[in-house]
């Protein structure tokens, strides 16, 4: 599942989250969440704000008290161990560097708490700063550094004491896109070098896909699904997950089962989707843009694309290697399609056919989720 070496993996801690809950008065921030994070794994907690991902991270770090359940680190219960005795590294979105200490003093802080000798401390601080490529900044103060540099210092400080688990709470949230991409690569490299278990909280699905071995998708205080980025993208178990990860279109309509398939009637057209209906309620078809072919009216099924819908081009974007179309169906709903650029593109307002293979659509229970993160 992950590509860390055996030696490195032995350094990372396993986390067992066992039915944890967190209530604030009558508000439920987290309800009976269970999850296992493997040693040395890079696990992301992904979800919209208020979904419980940061609450879970704070409970692992010990910044807030559990309302129920337990957390075990390498089979040892830490649910009621105070934060400063958990030996877990934490990187915060707001850096949280001590402004009255130099970079070197900041990084040395956790070592001082562990009564590491001066010589060993100096060596470890130097090594940690070298890992984040800031060895020449040891005597600067946080206020003299850029946001990206400050976050590198925070990272050095969180890993200098070799914690078996590193928690990151949207560490790149305050940085601009370009810097974010550079630091994503660095975090990935550091994860490989350290071999510690990483838990990374983000609301940015792209970031989660780039970094993680597995992703836990949070929504409304629960985990919707845990899996690799690919599994979440190709086989979402809920409509929320399907819409949160990547681009998608959702088709709604009455359904009936037909053999091993389920058939939905959308805008007067019947569409097949693999598998039996999920649950008793309404069903939807989730479509990825790259699965949908845009073709001239009357083209009919080609290469097994037997699901065909007719619509009008409402928007078209030239993306270089591909064209992106927004097509409005007869019932007013929209479908996004991304097709390789070939031949003359369809004009705005043109009537087109949308075609896809039944097995490339995902049948899901309609949980009322709407697109947009």
């Amino acid at each position: 599942m992950n590509a860390v070496s055996n030696e490195a993996a032995s350094k990372g801690a396993a986390i067992d989250i066992d039915g944890i809950s967190k209530f604030y008065g009558s508000f439920t921030a987290l309800e009976k969440v269970s999850l296992r994070v493997e040693p040395g794994e890079f696990m992301s907690f992904l979800g919209p704000s208020g979904s419980g991902k940061t609450t879970t991270l704070n409970l692992i770090a010990g910044f807030t008290d559990l309302s129920g359940g337990d957390i075990r680190l390498d089979a040892r219960s830490i649910g009621h161990v105070p934060a400063h005795k958990r030996n877990i590294g934490v990187v915060f979105q707001h850096y949280a560097l001590f402004p009255h200490m130099s970079v070197a003093q900041n990084v040395a802080y956790p070592l001082k708490q562990r009564r590491v000798g001066k010589a060993e401390r100096t060596r470890a601080v130097e090594e940690a700063l070298r890992k984040v490529q800031l060895d020449s900044f040891a005597h600067r103060y946080p206020s003299e550094l850029s946001g990206g540099q400050q976050q590198r210092v925070a990272l050095a400080r969180a890993m200098v004491f070799n914690p078996s688990l590193l928690l990151m709470d949207e560490p790149l949230g305050a940085l601009d896109k370009k810097l974010r991409e550079v630091l994503q690569l660095e975090i990935k490299r550091i994860h490989r070098e350290l071999g510690s278990t990483f838990v990374y909280v983000t609301h940015d699905q792209e970031e989660a896909l780039v970094l993680s071995d597995r992703i836990a998708v949070f929504n409304k205080g629960r985990i919707e699904q845990v899996g690799t980025g690919q599994a979440l993208y190709t086989a979402p178990q809920t409509l929320f997950v399907g819409q949160f990860i990547g681009e998608s279109s959702v088709l709604r309509g009455p359904h009936r089962s037909a053999g091993g398939e389920t058939v939905l009637t959308v805008a007067g057209t019947t569409l097949a989707a693999p598998g039996a209906a999920r649950g008793e309620g309404a069903q939807v078809i989730l479509l990825r843009p790259e699965a949908v072919m845009v073709q001239a009216p009357g083209t009919g099924p080609q290469e097994g694309r037997s699901n065909i819908l007719s619509g009008v081009v409402r928007e078209m974007l030239y993306l270089g290697s591909a064209m992106k179309y927004e097509v409005t169906l007869a019932d007013g709903s929209h479908v996004t399609a991304r097709t390789p650029t070939q031949g003359a593109p369809f004009a705005l307002g043109a009537t087109v056919e949308l075609a896809w293979r039944p097995q490339e659509s995902v049948l899901l229970a309609d949980d009322g989720s709407t697109a947009g993160h």
């Binding site: 770090a61 707001h94 001590f98 956790p110 400080r157 969180a158």
Partner: protein
């Protein structure tokens, strides 16, 4: 080329007058302290430094200065510790109780001094605290705590409490976190609170007049009783010395503060 603007000139003139009006009474004591004769007449006659000599030689005067300095130092320490702890507690409470406690702690600032003095005197009579070191320190601490609570509270309001969470994640206990992170960062507020506490005690006169005794007198009480008894220009000498000392302290504070901000 500056054009003659009557409005601007009027503004400058009125500012100058107000400045003189504010400072003049303080400056008047300086020439008076060098008077030749035992009178507080202004302008003074002649020149001598005998009143300064008297201040340092007369145990009534110099002794009261030492008493005042000792009490003020003790008050600064006690009020700063209690006030800082209170300010931190109030900041942490974040509920209505915090606001109520804050108002309660600030009441000594709002209640008229005389009312407070009568109350303190009545309690001290029963508890035999009149004219004692403990009595002075307790009463002045009561008056000084609000200043510490305000100064430290203002500093805590801009202190990033998330740094304490970060310190915990790095292995620091709450106590270690306080001494290595919180305290260094709110130190400016604590120091200015301590200075306010010291000054509050040092120039406190109303309560001190009530709880004074012939054996233990603070400098303001000594000044007041000297003024009511006879026109002794030593008062002016004391005033000039205190004026000089405060000017020096504030001046040095400004220079130090500016240099630190520049760094």
């Amino acid at each position: 080329m500056t054009r003659f603007r009557p409005g601007r000139l009027l503004l400058q003139l009125s500012c100058l007058l107000i400045a003189i009006w504010l400072v003049a009474p303080t400056l008047v004591v300086i020439p008076m302290s060098f008077a030749d004769r035992k009178s507080l007449a202004f302008p003074p006659q002649g020149f001598s430094t005998q009143w300064y000599a008297n201040f340092f030689a007369n145990p009534q005067w110099f002794g009261s200065l030492v008493v005042s300095l000792k009490i003020a130092a003790m008050v600064a320490v006690v009020a700063t510790i209690i006030g800082t702890m209170a300010a931190i507690g109030i900041e942490r409470l974040k509920t209505r109780a915090g606001g109520i406690i804050r108002v309660l702690l600030l009441t000594p600032m709002i209640v008229p001094g005389v009312v407070l003095a009568v109350g303190i005197y009545a309690v001290y009579l029963d508890t035999r605290l009149v004219g004692t070191w403990t009595g002075y320190v307790l009463a002045h601490t009561l008056l000084a705590i609000p200043f510490v609570v305000i100064a430290v509270g203002a500093n805590l309001a801009v202190f990033d409490a998330r740094l304490e969470t970060a310190a915990a994640s790095l292995g620091a206990s709450r106590l270690t976190t306080f001494f290595t992170v919180t305290l260094p960062l709110i130190l400016p507020g604590i120091l200015s609170g301590a200075l306010f506490a010291f000054v509050t005690s040092f120039d406190e006169v109303i309560v001190s007049l009530f709880i004074t005794s012939p054996q233990l007198k603070t400098l303001p009480v000594q000044i007041f009783s000297s003024m009511t008894r006879d026109a002794d220009p030593t008062v002016a000498a004391v005033g000039s010395l205190i004026f000089l000392a405060t000017t020096l302290i504030i001046g040095l504070g400004l220079i130090f503060g500016l240099r630190r901000r520049g760094a």
